[in-house]
Amino acid sequence: EDQVTQSPEALRLQEGESSSLNCSYTVSGLRGLFWYRQDPGKGPEFLFTLYSAGEEKEKERLKATLTKKESFLHITAPKPEDSATYLCAVQVPNSGYALNFGKGTSLLVTP
């Protein structure tokens, strides 16, 4: 069974304190791995899609990387506005083009 596990469940950082969020997956034939940001009461906001091991993508203070078993979302010098839940999802051929989500990491960045 395809599984997506995110860790930690919650993370509290001081402003400027860099860290990484983890998304490990066990799937048959990864088509793509997606990262989203979700603010309370809102829909997920698309951040990145990674397609093959070794691929990296960056956006402002965020950098996503992918290996054959996991993905990391690195947050460099975070600011309070980076506080949100970060969701990881995988897309696999046997589920059509739908996404299978992890439970997310709730990030709080304090001033």
Binding site: G41, G43, L87, S95, G96, Y97, L99, K103
Partner: protein
């Protein structure tokens, strides 16, 4: 990217009634999906909305409870029927502008449903 408008954004409904949620996209998209996000949980796929034919439902979701329409490439509705408090969730529309080797999936803002 695709801009998705979902209505209503929130509603409070009496048990036993039904609510229809609309999803309008600003451009034609290949695929549309409906997800549910229960309180404190991640997203669970309800069904794939197929244009011009019956939706494809995931295990645990049935057409009588969650009828879905998709009359064209930019619009879909999800109805939550005969509601109970257990249906209180956020319902999200998602689209794939195109399929193929590399795809991006976008979400609407969600409909927060409370059943009393």
């Amino acid at each position: 990217s695709a801009v998705i408008s979902q209505k209503p954004s929130r509603d409070i409904c009496q048990r036993g009634t039904s609510l229809t949620i609309q999803c309008q996209v600003d451009s034609q998209v290949t695929m549309m999906f409906w997800y549910r996000q229960q309180p404190g949980q991640s997203l669970t796929l309800i069904a794939t909305a197929n244009q011009g034919s019956e939706a494809t439902y995931e295990s645990g979701f049935v057409i009588d409870k969650f009828p879905i329409s998709r009359p064209n490439l930019t619009f879909s509705t999800l109805t939550v029927s005969n509601m109970s408090p257990e249906d209180s969730s956020i319902y999200l529309c998602s689209v794939l502008p195109q399929t193929g080797v590399k795809t991006e999936a976008f979400f609407g803002q969600g409909t927060r449903l409370t059943v009393v």
